[in-house]
Amino acid sequence: MTSTDRADMSKSPSGGGVKMNYVCISPNFPPNYVNFSVRLRERGARVLGIGAEPYEQLSQTLRGVLTEYYRVYDMENYEGVLQACGYFTHRYGKIHRIESHNEYWLAQDARLRTDFNVFGFKNDDMGPIKRKSAMKEVFRNFGIPVARGRIVHGLSDAFELIAETGYPVCAKPDSGVGAAQTFKLRNEEELQLFFDTKPPMEYIMEEFIEGEIHTFDGLTDREGNVVFMNSFIFPKGVMESVNDNLDMFYYSQKEIPGDLIEYGARATKAFGLKERFFHFEFFRTPESELVALEINARPPGGWSMDMFNYAHDADLYDQYAKLVMDGAVDAFSHGAYTTAYFGRKQREHIVHAHGAADILENFRGMIIQHGPIDSIFAPAIGDYAFILRAEDPEPLMEAAAYILERA
């Protein structure tokens, strides 16, 4: 068998009697991603899990679909995870996919793919995904507008930038996840405080853009074509949700504006996303201009995968499995519904005007899912969440006023 044959095999792994070996990193987390394993198994993949959770503590469903689970003692210990993949290689042959769908493991996924020569993002592809400064460069090179800004080294460097942009500015780790350790700085005093207390890592500083966040999310096929797309609107930024303890509220757009599709499709090409979920964030400024904020080479987090399903009357877990196994997805109706997510913070000092029981009673016809959120996600997306769906956005906006109202 030549190396070319191997590559071809990974392109059509279900062909020629070769079984798809799909390694799921941390398959039990987040809980809704168990559906990926379920659908992959249903479509004939051999699903191999690696995680630190004891096998007995995995859900019945997950245990039922994993061909084998390799328990490591510490997922942060790369050598152990590498050895687990060695075991799978020895037992099942070529590994065809290694995937966590999780921001936290993206770099490790890429490292494992590099070390086992597996299809998908390798170490060298990760620069523009992990580092916001490199990301900005790619956006610029492909003619996608970005906020003015760059990495700043020290106070005087920051002053130089602010001379151009003015206050407020936004400071975030060049290589960071979500809105952690991200700050909005309004004046020199706050700037000084930031530099006095900032964590020891590179920070990128940008002009503060007013506007809602509009996302362009979806899935690309093996050639990089967008085969599924979705857009969410976040009326308040995630940063404000974390830093100001706001509730999380976002909803899907039934029709995705042309400029968003244009920029979004261009960005998927620019970043070389193949057979991957993606989640791009743009600002929609008051002048209705789009400004690219960042790219994530994974599905949007929390319950967003499930919102995809409700909004498009589809099973995106299954469509992903089909894409991996057959290279194509089914036709399905984009934008059948509008869905909205309400994640309420439940802290002692936060009192909502209406209790969960009232909400369930009032919006019975629209609530499609509700439940508690894992504590690890709660600072960003709330402690208890509701997904509502309707054909039109108006009833959802009325519901928002009611659900988010504080006493």
Binding site: M1, A84, T89, H90, K94
Partner: protein, 387 residues
């Protein structure tokens, strides 16, 4: 250091690589189809673990064997068999397990003589006129420029197998009507002796050890005309050879590797013939040892483990290799006993050659060494004299 080697029991002298690596603390992990009990005691002592496969040609088995080693020992640091035959597999495994060294894509330039020639040309090293010819018309067009004789060899081939010298249109026709499948490269035939530039490059591509063998005629003639294999090392390596050789090592990106580059010494200077990204075969590493009073196997192990070697190779001796063809119709003037009695003081090693190498290396070989070349030439003339 997890060091994987394919077919560690062959050639037999390479067990020294594995012994030295093990001595210096490496995990030496061998893969082969030979039953463990049949490995030599030295080899068994040098291997940390041996994974027996049913068929070494079945890549899937090699691949899974490496999976086993990764599971048990962690990341693989080297996959190296030092053999032309396993160069591709070594590179495939390195590619599939992200191991330091030549990967699939790096190998193309040293596997295809046509690509090799391109690299030589691009760095200003003279090469024989020639190219891949697919039809008699293409061949005749080239011969229009070069004239007869021409040399044809597989574009991707090892040693002198399927290599021919063609003298006429008739031979050319015969070649095309009988040639094996696959691309062949055709070149002008160059007159001249072969001089090699061999050695070992460190992790940054710097040449640490160099050597030159002189062959008065090519391997092709040895194979095709049943000649004895005679070659010797030089104590002073010509400057042009060092200059071209070093440039070539850089251009091909050879790192922490042995290499073996062949040139013709023609009346108008050096012409590059080919590069091999491995040590010269047969007993050549032992010749380097005798020429330098060194243990090259050990120095290689040091290079791997510590990133550097611990001695200078100053070539205080010439070493001469005389590999005799032993065939019924070849009659020798002097017996082996005569040879040993008369030249025992010069002979440092002698013994039979594995049949697989004997077409190129002879059936029975002597290594002789001396600070001076003349006594060696005289002895070899005696040894190889035919009735």
């Amino acid at each position: 250091m997890n060091y994987v080697c394919l077919s560690p029991n062959f050639p037999p002298n390479y067990v020294n690589f594995y012994l030295r690596l093990r001595e210096r603390g490496a995990n030496v992990l061998g893969i082969d189809s030979v039953p463990y009990e049949q490995l030599s005691p030295e080899l068994r002592a040098s291997l940390t673990e041996y994974y027996r496969v049913d068929d070494l040609e079945n890549y899937e088995e090699l691949y899974r064997a490496c999976g086993y080693f990764i599971h048990k020992y962690g990341r693989l640091h080297r996959v190296e068999s030092h053999s032309e035959y396993w160069l591709d597999r070594d590179a495939m495994l390195r590619t599939d397990f992200n191991v330091f060294g030549f990967k699939n894509d790096d190998l193309l330039d040293v596997r295809y003589k046509s690509r090799m020639k391109e690299v030589f040309r691009s760095i200003g090293i003279p090469v024989a006129k020639g190219k891949v010819v697919r039809t008699p018309e293409e061949a005749r067009k080239l011969i229009g420029e070069t004239g007869y004789p021409v040399c044809v060899k597989p574009d991707c081939g090892v040693g002198a197998s399927s290599t021919y010298k063609l003298h006429s249109d008739e031979e050319l026709r015969f070649f095309f009507s009988t040639k094996p499948s696959g691309d062949f490269i055709m070149e002008e035939f160059l007159d001249g002796r072969i001089e090699t530039f061999d050695g070992l490059a460190d992790r940054n591509g710097k040449v640490l050890l160099m050597n030159t063998f002189v062959l008065d005629y090519g391997i092709m003639e040895m194979v095709n005309y049943e000649l004895d294999t005679l070659h010797y090392t030089l104590r002073d390596i010509p400057e042009d050879l060092v200059e071209y050789g070093s440039r070539i090592v850089k251009a091909f990106g050879l790192k922490e590797r042995f290499f073996h580059i062949e040139f013709f010494r023609t009346s108008s200077g050096l012409v590059a013939l080919e590069i091999n990204a491995r040590p010269p075969g047969g007993w050549c590493i032992d010749m380097l040892n005798y020429a330098n009073d060194a243990d090259v196997y050990e120095q290689y192990a040091r290079l791997l483990m510590d990133g550097r070697i611990t001695m200078l190779f100053e070539r205080p001796y010439h070493v001469f290799y005389a590999g005799l063809k032993e065939r019924e119709h070849i009659l020798r003037s002097h017996t082996r006993d005569d040879v040993l009695r008369r030249y025992g003081h010069l002979i440092v090693q002698h013994g039979p050659i594995a049949p697989i190498f004997s077409a190129a290396m002879g059936d029975y070989a002597y290594l002789l060494r001396s600070p001076d070349l003349e006594p060696l030439k005289e002895a070899v003339a005696y040894i190889s004299e035919r009735v």
